[in-house]
């Protein structure tokens, strides 16, 4: 029965264009050794708290990702920015 409801749910969501889940980070707070992100989720009214290491970055848009990195940096130290960009290392060719 559940699988039928899930199929109907996914069909209706696709039909109405509601298939993209996006996390919107609101604030960052540091409690001892943990950094928590207060965020809301598409189609959900409540705000929930997620540890920094467990945040699904793929569900955050680029602008919010940059803002989140700046806020996390500020919660750790002054003049610090956290970036989530992929970095390509050009390794030295050995002679």
């Amino acid at each position: 029965m559940d699988s039928i409801f899930n199929k109907i749910d996914s069909f209706l969501c696709r039909y109405f264009g509601l298939d993209k889940i996006e996390f919107i980070p609101h604030s960052v707070s540091r409690k001892g050794k943990q950094i928590f992100i207060l965020n809301s989720e598409s189609y959900k009214r409540h705000i929930h708290q997620t540890p920094f290491q467990e945040v699904n970055l793929k569900a955050i848009n680029e602008e919010n990702k940059k803002k989140l990195g700046m806020a996390i940096g500020k919660s750790i130290a002054n003049n610090l920015i956290i970036s989530f960009d992929e970095i390509i290392i050009k390794k030295e060719k050995k002679p």
């Binding site: 609101h26 409690k31 919010n64 990195g69 700046m70 002054n78 003049n79 970036s83 030295e92």
Partner: protein, 222 residues
């Protein structure tokens, strides 16, 4: 190099500020001896909390002592609580109010290993503020507790002088390994705090601690 307790620094600083503020407000010099007699406790307890020499301060005062101090200053009209005394307040930063600047520039930076700066890994291209000068990059060869996983890249500006609450890269005791510490300045005294344990504090000295620069960006591996 000496390790001290974070609470003793916080209690010392806040208590000293409260005594100074009371003297200034009442226009009469208020001393630690007067505080001790007002609290009906031995002078030595207040003296040990306020001692100028950090190694002679008491690092684990009784909760009862701290409550008595807070109660005294609150009844005297000061807005202070136990969290202020122990520096326990959590800091919250709003994400949506952060301003994204467009003055970032792509720099080609040499990447070294945290374990050994003689060990050049390669070069990377990073977008950082165009006001930066002399950049180096360090790749974490192990997890940097409590926030960063192995492989995260730390961008360091070696020409910026550390200011209060900035993150710095240091080498200790002429060893090659690089450590990350928070630079904290309280009343002209410098403390280097560990990220993992705020109670683990180093008092730097020129012979044992070499500051490599200020960390301006961390490319966190998730």
């Amino acid at each position: 190099m000496k390790t001290v307790n974070n609470f003793s620094i916080s209690i010392h600083t806040v208590l000293r500020e409260l005594i100074d503020a009371k003297s200034k407000r009442d226009n009469i010099k208020f001393t630690s001896y007067q505080l001790a007699s007002a609290l009906a406790m031995p002078r030595s307890i207040i003296t040990k909390l306020l001692h100028a020499d950090i190694s002679k301060r008491v690092s684990n005062p009784k909760i009862e002592t701290l409550i008595k101090i807070i109660d005294f200053f609150r009844e005297d009209g000061f807005n202070v609580n136990i969290d202020d005394l122990l520096n326990l307040k959590s800091k919250s930063v709003d994400v949506q109010s952060q301003l994204i600047t467009s003055n970032d520039k792509i720099f080609s930076v040499v990447l070294y290993s945290f374990a050994n700066m003689k060990n050049k890994i390669g070069t990377i291209e990073v977008a950082v503020s165009n006001t930066t000068k002399n950049l180096i990059a360090l790749q974490a060869s192990e997890d940097i507790e409590p926030f960063f996983k192995r492989g995260s890249i730390f961008i360091i500006d070696s020409e910026i002088k550390p200011t209060n609450e900035t993150l710095i890269a240091i080498q200790l005791d002429n060893m090659e390994k690089i450590h990350i510490r928070k630079y904290v300045k309280i009343k002209n005294k410098i403390f280097l705090k560990s990220l993992a344990n705020e109670d683990d504090i180093i008092l730097p000295s020129a012979t044992t601690c070499k500051i490599l620069g200020v960390i301006i960006q961390i490319n966190a591996r998730t």
